[in-house]
Subunit: 235 residues, 2 copies
């Protein structure tokens, strides 16, 4: 048994959106075919752009930014559409695609393994009321000792306060904890403010974050169990 | 009399949009007050961002990009609105504001002076069918010996071809010509491809183009007549 605590972000750390599938449906309506990987890459680049240039925007209600986000995804794909009708189609698709957020194929296995090895696990996430429902829906809630969601605690990453609340609830410290997230600015910079070591997930290795000089990048949480076994890597 | 030829871009070189006024109307509906200069600056930054990061997009039909553009203007002003209803309001305001494009207060005076001093004058512009109507509406057409508009010639800046067509129609050369425009990437880079010396207009001096190392920046065409008199500045 160990006192080590591993905290996770939710979106693109444990779960992913079926957004590319919805976009493909829209392209189909426009009689356009495109490789799925290209669409994934465009969304990935749009995410990274928003994280870097427009912090906090992706956490707002979608009517405030989604046309804008789509404009950028389209642009990466060298496409242009009427943004009003495209956004309507896509929002409807998002509503109808249930569940819209899915666990990665390896998410449960990894959480299971880490618990078996005695790590305590937690969530620190910027999310609305649906955060807890999502974890319940996918039977993930029981893997976690503490779940800290911004809308419930009234503070969000990259503020120090959300991490401090997590340490308090988890009865742990920055030195006993590591954090895993996909947003350099919220997760690595935010975590850094409280001395928290953070592993940055980037599914496409350094693509989209070429400007970031950071040594701790992994492609997915699937790398965690073996990484944790390598001595001195984490703690 | 001289053989020297001065070519102009149209938007934000000779004419400007009443866009900030329309945005202010929208803010009024939302019961928000904001200094006009701050709004001008946000639009200026959005222009520069699009010119640099999304070349060609501002020339597309507005339904393809305007929500996106507004999202960025809002973001600079630390505001967030439902983009669909905001865009509807703003497009209606643009339609109803006639004329939506106006000459700068000094535009006619400067063109008049330059003609008096014997310069030949022309237009090289990326614009749709409304380009020629706009010049007619404001009684500007007669100042120009040649008017080259992208939609009429089927090529656009920064392509070499539009400048070559202009030289041919104007019976002039890159060495006898200078160009004045506000888009570094279309005008300076594009003009550079045919050895055309270009003065870059930036109303806020280097604000929004801090990354550009370019010596020939003016705030408006109002500086031209005296600049042209300083020997060796232009030719």
């Amino acid at each position: 048994m160990t006192n080590k605590y591993i905290w996770f972000d939710i979106g693109y750390t444990l779960l992913y959106q079926q957004r590319e599938q919805v976009y493909v449906q829209y392209l189909k309506e426009q009689k356009i075919e495109m490789p799925f990987e290209k669409i994934e890459e465009a969304y990935h680049y749009a995410d990274k752009l928003f994280m870097r240039e427009y912090p906090g925007v992706l956490g707002k209600q979608s009517s405030f930014f989604y046309h804008w986000y789509l404009g950028i995804v389209n642009h990466y794909l060298e496409l242009a559409f009427d943004l009003e009708s495209q956004n309507r189609f896509i929002q409807k698709g998002i509503q109808e695609t249930k569940p819209y957020w899915l666990p990665f194929s390896f998410t449960k296995d990894v959480l299971h393994k880490l618990r078996q090895e005695g790590y305590r696990l937690g969530i620190i996430s910027n999310w609305d009321e649906s955060g807890r429902q999502l974890l319940d829906y996918h039977n993930l809630t029981d893997y976690f000792d503490n779940i800290i969601i911004s809308c419930e605690v009234g503070v969000e990453k990259p503020s120090k306060a959300i991490f401090e609340k997590a340490f308090k609830q988890g009865n742990t410290t920055n030195e006993e904890s590591i954090y895993i997230g996909d947003n350099y600015y919220d997760d690595v910079v935010g975590g850094g403010k409280v001395g928290l070591k953070t592993y940055l997930i980037n599914r496409f290795r350094d693509q989209g974050i070429e400007e970031i000089q950071y040594p701790y990048i992994i492609e997915s949480i699937n790398e965690l169990p073996s990484l944790l076994k390598e001595e001195n890597v984490y703690f």
